[in-house]
């Protein structure tokens, strides 16, 4: 894999993992509204 491939892979994976972490953090820290 060339350098652009690695950069693209790392950016994509870290973007997805950051988005997932952010979303799940907000979901689990949110208080249930009854």
């Amino acid at each position: 894999m060339n350098i652009y491939g690695w950069i693209f892979l790392i950016l994509s994976w870290s973007g997805i993992l950051t988005l997932g972490t952010f979303c799940f953090h907000r979901v689990f820290s949110k208080k249930e509204v009854k």
Binding site: Y4, F8, W13, I16, F24
Partner: protein
Amino acid sequence: MIPYFVALLLLGIPLVWIEWTLGRYGGGFEHGTAPGIFHSLLQKNRFIKYFGVIGIFGPFVIFIYYTFIASWTLGYSFYSIKGVLAPLGDQASIQSFLRGYQGLEQNGFFKSIAPAYMFFLITFSLNIFVIYYGIRGGIETLCKIALPVLFCFGIILAIRVLTLGAPDAAKPGWNVGNGLGFLWNPDFGALKSAKVWLAAAGQIFFTLSVGIGVILTYASYLSKGDDVVLSGMTAVSMNEFAEVVLGSSIIIPAAFVFFGPIDIQAIARQGAFDLGFVTMPLILGKLPLSSIFSFLWFALLFLAGVTSSVSLAQPAVAFLEDEFNISRKRAVGIFAAVGFLLCQPAIFFLGRGVVNELDFWGGTFCLVLFGTIETILFVWVFGMDKAWEEIHHGADIRIPRIFKFIIKYVTPVFLLVILGAWFFQEGLPTIFLKGVSEADKPFVLWTRLGLIALFSALAIMVKIAWRKRRKRA
């Protein structure tokens, strides 16, 4: 991958928010399917509800053939653990195995379609069982078990593939790093190809289940204060993790490592179908403990397939329940009887082009058409300001304002361009039966007539339901 991420941002994420919001909004009017949800957007208009017929028709048509295909994964997991698949070392043997299993030929592997039919019956019954127990008792329970198991299987397989290195010492270039490169090295020249952009957009539709009508039904069970922005984004992030992080670490790198840079291009051109049932067993057969990994892989696909086929049944069942006021038990009974009958041509005339025809109308055309219609109705008929406010109702986070512009202008234009380009490139040749053999033409035309009859029956049912509703009012 660049067009894929562009389509995700401009098409996928906006459509997820649109569908979740539309579903929740319609649910507030006690409508769980597209006809009622569209009617609630503009109650003065008598015709708007008929656009929603596509949102029941499409998933029902996909269900008809998808259940049979999902059942193959159950069959493959059975034959994997039995040790039948692992010794099949070449593509011709696995193709022969698949054709025998599908009942397309009698060979050393299968004398009839009976084993495949038995796995279909198990899969169909499991679907009906899960649908019968409803969202909470059925789908929620299945997902709570199936999804964590599925992710664990995926992670195990990804680790196994990523640690393969270069298994053939004589071919050091056939390694995992170069396999990842096949997928991730940007090819800027390909960005000029309309076909690449269309394929990326199509992938986004399938992967996020947008344009089908299923999310509308699921979201209709939400309450007004539920957060669709965060829920939608969470679903997108999980989906992308499964598809991009796990998916890209398994099939393509493994295929590259075992088949090399030349053959993998031919494999990639064969499409998902061959990749799933011909190439994957070959790849899995080359791993140590191949029977176990093969069983895990197909069991994983089966669990994923059942969660999908169960969701495809939801709009039709919810339509009967909501608009005809009948019990879930009866609605599931009617759906099971009609669905079972309609599945038969897909099973017994698979080799006659019936499944391709169903997939073209239900699984391709309806997705793009329905996605376009719901975006235009939500943004331009309901009104962008109201739509923006509705999306943010109960939201924990604010969507960046740039998405207001994207949802209003970019997404509908993108969808219309896709619909137009796709119609001329693929739609017209298919409509005029290009490439269909003379022997298969009657089967394809009968399938088409059947689809017209099904669509008409659903449209008439919408008319009857609204007449009954008016009388009750």
